[in-house]
Symmetry: C2
Subunit: 257 residues, 2 copies
């Protein structure tokens, strides 16, 4: 008996027609039946936002010629919720998000729409992966990424993932044969500093752009995603949604409130 | 020498004029100098979203008569970033968010604007607490909450918090003398199921509301926030922003990609 093709849900945060999701769809269609549900506009930095104070719509699109494809008016997390609870008749075998135009290493994971979609996939019990290429450009070259994406997605389809865990995969910007390999690592401690660019509108009123400089507090530690990427490795961080600081429970219990 | 008053940053996700933040300001002004920077409109469910594709504005308001008070066009996380990097001359001694109109226990933490503001405070190195009352109503009674908020904020001002850790405090809806005490616990495993309410607009086109039923996968486990709240305890979950599933690194390394 022929083995049934896996069902793969594809989403992202750069929008349904971004080059990064096109590259991801191209790889996924070689691995299974693909359903695309992705935002109708860029949703970078949306983190784990959901739409609860307004309504959501989905619209059929014909961009990739896959099994089913929709744009959605909501956030990346909304896309996963609407795919799982409305569009798909069965739970997908894999949920992939990306390929993001830009890094989601380290603290970026918490602001990232790409990764939040993967985390939502994990919440729904689906093996899920967020892929990001460390290049913000619309013209980013996804050639080398596609091979890596395929290898990692195949591995996850075959072996599965631990319960409640998804993968945060970041790919360095080097030519394919310069990538040294894949490192499974932890999220580096880091922050964005000097984060506001103040400008003045034509009537003299101030407004602000969030911006900043990435500061790595984990310099030199070879078990982090930042180290892996700086050294031309693909980084994989197993990522979960238990925000409990378990190691602090004992200490907090000592505070007499 | 008189001890300097602590500087306290207050924010929320229900908007700068919500009754919950009014209650929080009322308590905080008894503990220190208060600066309010809160969203100019409801931002529930915004998770850790930040505004990167458009601009931000802040506007002085005069609601509470505290040291400084602003509304901000952005998300709760934007409010913390703009307070720390633009408005405040020094790092605050405490950042409090809430009191949220509604529970942020368990998996809600990841969707919560209230808690994301507290997490952002922790990222900025500020002792931070998110407070939520398990009552969504605009008419929620914050009387009992105020006493609890004061006790916990005082404890944190005096003892500090572990590095990179903030507190997720949820308060059950009972009269003050029915609250049994405070439990430091972990985030319960749970999910929202059946999440879409499909409706049709006047022209017959479908649209959706996210909704759902809370499902606790940790039933009976007395070390969780859901158990604490169900049993009339205030729950405190120490919460961090390291999303790494450390215990899975070894297992993922075994997958040959």
């Amino acid at each position: 008996m022929k083995k049934k093709k896996p069902l793969i849900l594809v989403t992202n945060d750069d929008g349904v027609s971004a080059p990064g999701i096109a590259a991801l769809v191209e790889v996924m269609r070689t691995l299974g039946d693909v359903v695309v549900v992705a935002p109708d506009k860029p949703q970078s930095g949306m983190g784990h936002a959901i739409t609860i104070n307004s309504t959501l719509r989905i619209n059929k699109v014909k961009i990739y010629g896959v099994k089913e494809e929709y744009s959605c008016t909501g956030t990346p997390v909304d896309c996963v919720k609407i795919a799982v609870n409305k569009i798909l008749k069965q739970k997908p075998d894999l949920c992939v998000s990306g390929i993001n135009h830009g890094s989601n290493m380290s603290i970026n994971v918490i602001y990232s729409g790409t990764m939040s979609a993967a985390v939502e996939g994990a919440i729904e019990g689906i093996p899920s992966i967020g892929f990001s290429l460390c290049d913000n450009s619309i013209d980013a070259d996804f050639t080398a990424s596609k091979k890596i994406v395929k290898a990692i997605a195949k591995g996850v389809l075959e072996k599965g993932l631990p319960k409640d865990v998804c993968l945060n995969v970041n790919i360095p910007v080097v030519k394919g044969d310069e990538i040294k390999g894949i490192k499974v690592c932890r999220q580096a401690r880091a922050n964005w500093i000097e984060e506001l660019d103040e400008r003045f509108d034509p009537s003299g009123q101030p407004y602000f752009w969030l911006t900043g400089k990435f500061e790595n507090y984990d310099k030199g530690n070879k078990d982090t995603d930042v180290w892996a990427l700086d050294n031309n490795y693909v980084s994989i961080v197993p990522t979960h949604f238990d925000m409990t600081a378990h190691e602090s429970i004992k200490q907090i219990k000592k505070i007499k409130f």
